[in-house]
């Protein structure tokens, strides 16, 4: 009796241990296994993306464009915010990553000067750590903005950021939690323009639907919403103009490692040349309003642009 039982238990224990070993093998061989990766294989390029749906679409466009040109791609998408993935890019674990010129520059150098789109791009090129480079920037931008509702803008006759000083009611600010300490955050509003804000409400959706909802419902009065957000149009929002360059221009640009050769770079440059600002807004709209997957959106866009 006992021996039968023992046999059974032993068999199950063996299966269990086998499963652990197998799954552990999967886990370490899994593409997400940051440290490991397929870097040893020189023909595979790792394409990464931020944990932001719009960035994923651009990364997917890069990936499909590369695949159309015979490059094997390992997709490592949605890997958090810049603070999480930047060390991995600089560590050479990711080969292609869609970035935004100004935000990346500010992340690399807190004292960066910024300026026009071209000035920012040139400065970024100089600031990048060795081993990394940026290819051509696209006309498409997705930059930070201070955004209010149309009704609020009308009430106080708001046009640019400085005009917020005219607002007489308390202004509560909303956005991702990191906004609070960004160089263009509430502190900058106070120091640069003397605009007092009445508090900060974090919403971790990257200026997404919940932030918009809070703005429309009046829970917050001022939000950081990206300019390529389709909500600006659909929810009657106004992105305040920024004549003083509080926000750096954020043109879409691929950051690449040394593994990206000239031929591959040409493919990505072709994509960047075709990607307009309007394009990006409508790509985002397809994701948010039509609920299409990044894969489908990217495929459609590449087909329409007829690049390859």
């Amino acid at each position: 009796m006992f021996t039968v039982k023992k046999g059974r238990l032993a068999a199950i224990a063996a299966v269990a241990v086998g499963a652990v070993v197998a799954l552990a093998g999967c886990a370490s061989g899994d593409p997400l296994g940051a440290g490991s990766t397929a870097s040893g294989d020189s023909k595979t390029l790792v394409v990464g993306s931020q944990d932001y749906y719009s960035n994923e679409i651009i990364a997917e466009i890069y990936a499909q464009a590369l695949e159309a040109n015979g490059v094997t791609v390992d997709r490592q998408f949605r890997i958090g915010q810049r603070e999480v993935y930047l060390p991995e890019i600089t560590g050479g674990k990711i080969d292609v990553f869609p970035e935004y010129t100004g935000s990346l520059l500010q992340a690399l150098d807190k004292k960066a000067a910024g300026g026009t789109a071209d000035e920012t791009y040139a400065e970024l090129k100089k600031t990048l750590p060795s081993g990394l480079s940026v290819l051509d920037q696209a006309a498409a931008t997705d930059q930070n903005s201070w955004t209010v509702t149309q009704a609020f803008a009308k009430k106080y006759n708001l046009t640019d950021i400085a005009s917020l000083k005219k607002v007489t009611e308390p202004i509560t600010v909303g956005g991702n939690s990191e906004l609070e300490t960004r160089p263009y955050g509430p502190t900058a509003l106070k120091e640069k323009y003397g605009i007092e804000t009445a508090g900060f409400k974090p919403v971790e959706d990257g200026g997404g639907p919940l932030t918009v909802k809070a703005l429309v419902q009046g829970d917050i009065q001022l939000a950081n919403i990206y300019t390529a957000s389709p909500n600006i149009k659909s929810d009657n929002l106004v992105a305040l103009t920024d004549p003083d360059g509080l926000f750096f221009p954020d043109n879409v640009v691929p950051v690449v490692s040394k593994k990206v050769d000239d031929k591959t770079a040409a493919v990505l440059n072709k994509v960047s040349a075709a990607l307009s600002a309007e394009n990006l807004v409508s790509l985002n709209s397809e994701s948010v309003n039509d609920q299409k997957s990044a894969k489908a959106i990217a495929a459609d866009w590449l087909k329409q642009a007829a690049l390859f």
Partner: protein, 246 residues
């Protein structure tokens, strides 16, 4: 372990003890949230648990329901409810109340089930009414396990309440999110350590309460009851404690 030194420095830095978002304020927010969530969850779960425990009916349903609730990921519920009702504390309250119900419910009815049938039969034999049996026998005797359920619920809520900062300017989770997103590891770790300390403090408090509420007459069997251990392995019996399922 330099990074832990930084985190400890962050915790004791006087600059973090004044102004908006000061550590004492975040701690209080976190505690208040935990307390209120437990209160609401108890108001829902305890009556049900007592009815199930007293009548012995609906146990299967309760096990299935709380098993299902336990499997619901809190992060999913939180984001979903937030999309419905907007930013603020509404969504975290809903999500965490759902999280807190299963252990409290389980604590309430297993508390009754663990009571020696002889004690209840004796109570009935001496002429106690059902209400008297409930209030004078079952509830006091079942209390240690109920407190045990509350204890594990409190632990889960205090731990998972960090996620409230995903949609609200609230609690210790704020330090984790803003630290995570700005690579301020000292703040992130410091905040984490505070949450852990708070959880441990609550553990201690509940362990003490659990010891105190044991009726004097059954103190001798306390060890057994404390560990929620049946005299024999009872198939289908689940441990009263479970990890939070954010």
């Amino acid at each position: 372990m330099n990074i832990f030194g930084d985190a400890l420095n962050w915790i004791i830095d006087p600059a973090n003890y004044s102004g908006p978002g000061a550590i004492p304020m975040r701690l209080l927010e976190h505690l208040g949230f935990t307390f209120l969530t437990l209160l609401v969850a108890s108001a829902i779960a305890i009556p049900f648990g007592f009815v199930i425990g007293h009548t012995g009916r609906g146990r299967g349903l309760a096990v299935t329901t709380s098993g299902g609730l336990r499997a619901i990921p809190t992060l999913g519920l939180l984001t979903l409810v937030a999309l419905w009702i907007g930013i603020g504390l509404g969504a975290p309250y809903v999500a965490l109340t759902v999280l807190a119900i299963p252990p409290i419910l389980a604590g309430a009815y297993t508390g009754f089930e663990a009571i020696d049938r002889g004690a209840i039969d004796a109570a009935r034999a001496v002429g106690m009414s059902e209400v008297q049996i409930l209030t004078q026998v079952e509830i006091p005797l079942g209390l240690p396990l109920l407190i045990g359920g509350l204890r594990s619920a409190a632990l889960q809520v205090v731990a998972t309440a960090t996620l409230a900062a995903y949609v609200a300017d609230f609690g210790l989770g704020r330090y984790l999110f803003s630290g995570l997103k700005t690579r301020d590891y000292a703040q992130m770790l410091g905040g984490s350590i505070l949450v852990i300390l708070l959880a441990l403090a609550l553990e201690g408090i509940f362990a003490t309460i659990q010891r105190v509420v044991v009726p004097r007459g059954v103190a001798s069997t306390r060890l057994l009851v404390d560990r929620a251990r049946p005299a024999r392995p009872r198939p289908g019996m689940e441990p009263a404690i479970t990890k939070g399922n954010p």
